[in-house]
Amino acid sequence: MHKLKSAILLFLSGFIAPTSAGASIETATLTNHFIASAEYRPGQSSKPAVLVIHGFLSTRNFLTVLNLTTALADSGYTVLAPNLSLGVNMRDVSLACEAIHMHTLADDLAEINFWVEWLVSHGHKTIVLLGHSVGSLHGLLYTLEFKNPAVKKLIATSLVDMESVISVAVSQAQIKKAQALLKRNDNTLASYQLSYCKKYVAPPKAFLSYASWTGQSVLHALAKTSVPVEVILGGSDSRIGAAWPKQLRNAGVNLHVIPGANHFFSNEHEFDLLDSVMVALRSVH
């Protein structure tokens, strides 16, 4: 049913997105020769541009991301919402968990950097990274990997680590297993549990690039980044640990919890999320 709903929304988004005023699909050949695309909605120049990063294996048309994109664009913000290629040219559908995942996190970060520089090249000096779920992790890790001065803020909605859904024990075992294969230069595809994927098929290197980002790692990253981070979580997000909000607060993270919202800020919490994002964006000049 969820899939059907997503498909319907996706279908409808095909009509909505192109009809948005000024919206365009920008394509580019990446350095890895994959062709990626991003939806660009130019806004007011007085307002920062927002680079929206979708969740794990998802696309910019995921409902939560699409709503943010649309709302921000309607509010006059310049929005750029790319689809991370994940090793697929012109990827515009979610990548199945069972697909062979050759992409690495580093590839994702490089692709994000591409788009940041694209925005800069298009005159946007103030850029806010707005991520959702693993996209928030992407944004956080980008701020650590690529210190682009144009990026003024990171708004991390539903920030998760890669162990958030699976147990730590399983996660550690998988990591160990993958490390063992890597050590043997064995690029055998293996099926791992990663994030919400119960069967994440990837070679060990690709797997480890994501799986190593545990909760602690994320907290460390939060502590290390120089970009202001504002985390917005749903009070009923079942994909995060119960202690995660506290851990984030303890880490000194600017955390805003929307009570009752789930990981995707569904239903009325969509507006709560938007309000929180707007508030977070107003502080960016």
Binding site: G87, N89, M90, R91, A96, E98, A99, I100, V201
Partner: protein, 902 residues
């Protein structure tokens, strides 16, 4: 009895449509079907309908099957083609989907994990059908990225590959769909190709749904290794047969439905039958039996406890109502029976006969009493006309009575007065019957009820009472009451006829002595014998009555002369003088008689009786055994009469009688052709007695008979002598009433004529009209017999006696003799002349001779001659003459012819 209570219904009319009427009646009277029969009939009809429907359905189904199969075959083929085209389209689409699948493109970037892609991702692609036979990727050169696992998949594609192809390989027909894979779909920079293989047969038979085509009969006509490129592929795939699954389904459905219907139907039918039988049938049958039993008068079911409550409310109500109604009927029936029995008992025991008649007077019913009254079985009476039970003589009286009864309106429901008739029994004997007739209306019919009573006993009793009221019980003689009545009648009669009535009062001498000495029984016997003797002595129309004790009285009516009384009184005394046999002994009683004459002595009845009584005492004082007239002079007359009577008795012995002859002159010829013989008595004691005196005495005493014989004999002998002398004379003699009454008159006359050797044609008997008064029929017979002998008959003294002239056409009369009374004044009295003329004319018209008597003058003679009279007799011609003088007289007169017999 039953027939009396149950009035016979009217008979059915017998029209020409009686047969149809009987049929309709028969059908109308037939009972309808029972509920069970209706139920069975309904079930049978249902089964027939079901069977017929089933047969019809099967027939239509078969036709439908054939047509449907043909149509379905056509449709199957079309469907197959459409399906193949769809499969082709889907296959092409599938190839395009694989070509566009990001993971397919990924393989071209890194084919290290191609095996994983082919084995783990391709089958689980969301768009990959389960019957996907194979997917392979080929590089731009058309070389497979990996060695195809399926030998059917080519290791290298023949380029350009643009069309879908169907390849038959061994037993399988596979479709190969090729689609280019490009990095940029918009730029269409092809990096390779994807080839999707679909097992056509498997797809068609396992994955596709056919409405019409039979999967098992789909086949291609390709040879092994033959390759056919689209769009020609469709032409090589065929459906050999169609399952007509729809029909099969329909058939199965129909059969199953029919089976279900049959099962349901039979179940329902069985249930219905059970319901009908047990709920309706049995109860209705029980109810029907109940009603039937009641109809036939069987009341036992009323008390049958097994007739428990019926299962249907309406039936139960009917049963209860029936029982209640039957109970009421029983009560009413009992009342009616009791009433009927009472009625029956009344009708059976009543002594009156009760008869019902229909409108035609036919007897419909009667009670036993009627049978007893008419001495006929009841069933014999029924069906008769009521008139058959009534004597013929009483029919007019019955009809008159009935008509009177019918005049009374029906609403006046009271019995009519009774009518006394004479009934007729079965043995045709008649009896006094009294009936009373009433009318009634019963069921649109008007009936009559006749109550009949045999009143024989009542009448007998009444008669006895009447008898006892009028007759002496011991002797049977009229008693004082009746005597007075008889005397009154006799006086009334005598008064009309100017006759006398004599009352002779008798008292038996020495009766008391007899009664005292011999006893009352002897005394009664004496009275009986005396009364018998008195009764036997008197004339038939006289009366003897017993006034009481030993007193009797005799009423002599219609007495002409006192001498008659004397004679009868003398006879009566003589009769009583004869000894009586009493108690084995002879007893001499005798009697004393007193005579009173009406109207000479008195006209009052009581005075007459008293006078007779007085005269009786006078006779008793004179010693009894004699009579005395009330008036002394009558006694002398009586004595004189007796003496004369006595003298007359000896007249014949003493030859004191003589015949004189008076001639009758023929007025046409003037000749004497006949004479009348007239009797004269020259009594030695009394001298010449006028015929006026002695002839009545002869008549009264009965001496006229022997004297009359003597007259006839003498006249015939004398006339015979004259015949022999050459005188053809006819002699007429008078015939008296007493003579005429003699039964052997004709025989005696024939005897006398025969003895005298006399030709009857020369004898004429003169009779008077008074002779005809008593019995005309007897007179006709006697006179006819005499006439047959040859004797002529003449009516003497015509015109002064019998008033009716009808005898003239009945009696064999030859001559009418006009009475002298008319002749005497014929020339002076126009009336006598007219009467005489009429008599002559009457005689002429009847072709009778007419003789006038008493001619004394010439004028009379002339007149009579003028009238046409045939003969005349009278002093004018001659007085009656003795024979010798007569002979001398006729010798002196001219006789027309001597036609005397030899």
């Amino acid at each position: 009895m039953d027939s009396f209570l149950n009035t016979r219904p009217a008979a059915l009319s017998r029209s020409t449509a009686v047969a149809g009427f009987k049929m309709r009646s028969k059908l109308a009277n037939m009972l309808p079907l029972s509920i069970t029969a209706y139920g069975l009939l309904f079930i049978l009809l249902g089964l027939l309908l079901f069977g017929g429907f089933s047969l019809l359905t099967v027939s239509e189904l078969y036709t439908l099957h054939v047509e449907t199969k043909q149509r379905n075959l056509h449709l199957a083929q079309e469907e197959l083609q459409d399906t193949v085209l769809h499969v082709l389209a889907e296959g092409e689409k599938l190839a395009m989907q694989f070509a566009e699948w990001d993971e397919s493109l990924q393989q071209f970037s890194n084919s290290n994990y191609y095996a994983y892609w082919r084995e783990n991702r391709v089958p689980y692609a969301s768009f990959a059908p389960h019957d996907l036979a194979g997917v392979e990727l080929y590089n731009q050169a058309g070389v497979a990225l990996a060695r195809p696992q399926d030998n059917d998949m080519p290791a290298k594609l023949s380029l350009p590959i643009t069309k879908t192809t169907l390849v038959r390989h061994r037993d399988s027909d596979n479709l190969y769909f090729t689609a280019p894979v490009a990095y940029d779909k918009q730029r269409n920079d092809i990096v390779g190709y994807v080839v999707v293989k679909i097992d056509l047969k498997k797809t068609l038979t396992e994955k596709q749904r056919f409405r019409f085509a039979d999967k098992n009969t789909i086949a291609t006509d390709l040879q092994d290794g033959q390759t056919i490129a689209a769009p020609g592929i469709v032409q090589h795939i065929h459906v050999a047969d169609v399952p007509n699954a729809g029909f099969d389904q329909l058939q199965d459905l129909m059969l199953s439905t029919l089976q279900r219907f049959a099962v349901i139907g039979f179940s329902l039918a069985a249930l219905l039958l059970y319901l009908l039988v047990h709920i309706f049938g049995l109860p209705s049958r029980r109810l029907s039996r109940h009603i039937d039993a009641l109809r036939h008068g069987d009341r036992t079911l009323l008390q049958d406890t097994r007739m428990h409550k019926l299962s249907v409310a309406e039936f139960e109500k009917v049963r209860l109502s029936l029982n209640e109604y039957q109970t009421q009927l029983d009560h009413r029936d009992a009342e009616i029976r009791e009433s009927e029995m009472r009625m029956r008992a009344v009708l059976d025991n009543v002594i009156e006969g009760i008869i019902t008649l229909n409108e035609q007077g036919v007897i419909e019913s009667c009670n036993p009493a009627a049978g007893r009254i008419f001495a006929l079985p009841e069933h014999d009476i029924i069906g008769r006309s009521i008139t058959s039970l009534i004597a013929d003589a009483a029919q007019p009286a019955y009809r008159s009575y009935r008509n009177e009864c019918f005049k009374i309106p029906l609403r006046q429901r009271h019995g009519n007065e009774a009518c006394e008739l004479t009934g007729k029994r079965g043995d045709q004997s008649e009896f006094p019957l009294e009936i009373s007739l009433s009318r009634m209306q019963l069921a649109q019919r008007q009936l009559s009820i006749v109550v009949a009573r045999d009143v024989t006993e009542r009448k007998r009793s009444h008669d006895r009472l009447v008898y006892l009221a009028n007759f002496d019980e011991l002797t049977g003689l009229p008693n004082r009451t009746l005597f007075r009545d008889r005397l009154k009648q006799a006086i009334a009669h005598a008064k009309r006829e100017e006759r006398l009535v004599a009352v002779i009062y008798f008292d038996l001498d020495h009766f008391k002595k007899i009664n005292d000495t011999l006893g009352h029984h002897a005394g009664d016997q004496l009275l009986l014998d005396a009364s018998k003797r008195l009764r036997d002595t008197i004339r038939e129309f006289d009366t003897v009555a017993r006034l009481g004790g030993d007193e009797f009285v005799v009423v002599l009516g219609s007495v002409r002369h006192v001498e008659q009384v004397t004679e009868i009184a003398t006879k009566l005394l003589q009769a009583l003088e004869m000894p009586f046999a009493l108690e084995g002994q002879e007893a001499f009683v005798a009697a004393s008689a007193g005579i009173a004459i009406y109207p000479l002595d008195d006209t009052d009845i009581d005075n007459l009786v008293k006078n007779a009584d007085t005269a009786m005492f006078r006779a008793k004082e004179q010693g009894g055994n004699s009579y005395q007239y009330f008036k002394a002079e009558m006694n002398a007359k009586a004595i004189h009469r007796l003496k004369m009577e006595s003298a007359l008795r000896y007249g014949l012995e003493r030859n004191e009688f003589e015949l004189l002859y008076q001639p009758r002159v023929n007025l046409h010829s003037g000749a004497i052709l006949s004479m009348e013989a007239l009797l004269r008595w020259n009594s030695q004691q009394f001298g010449n007695i006028s015929p006026v005196q002695f002839i009545p005495l002869l008549e009264e005493t009965g001496l006229i008979v022997p004297v009359g014989d003597w007259v006839l004999k003498t006249a015939c002998e004398q006339t015979r002598r004259w015949h022999k002398a050459g005188y053809g004379l006819r002699v007429s003699v008078n015939l008296s009433v007493r003579q005429f009454r003699q039964k052997d008159l004709v025989k005696r006359f024939r005897s006398i004529l025969h003895a005298a050797d006399f030709d009857p044609q020369y004898l004429e008997l003169e009779i008077t009209e008074g002779l005809l008064v008593e019995n005309m029929d007897a007179a006709v017979t006697i006179l006819q017999n005499l006439h047959d002998v040859g004797v002529r008959i003449s009516i003497d003294d015509f015109g002064i006696g019998y008033s009716s002239l009808s005898y003239l056409k009945r009696l064999p009369i030859d001559t009418i003799k006009i009475d002298r009374s008319f002749v005497a004044d014929i020339t002076d009295n126009p009336e006598d002349a007219v009467i005489t003329a009429a008599i002559v004319a009457l005689a002429r018209s009847l072709r009778l001779d007419v003789t006038a008597e008493g001619i004394e003058t010439k004028a009379q003679l002339d007149y009579l001659t003028l009238l046409g009279c045939d003969e005349a007799q009278g002093f004018y011609f001659s007085t009656p003459l003795p024979a010798q003088e007569f002979e001398h007289h006729i010798a002196q007169r001219h006789i027309v012819s001597k036609s005397a017999p030899a």
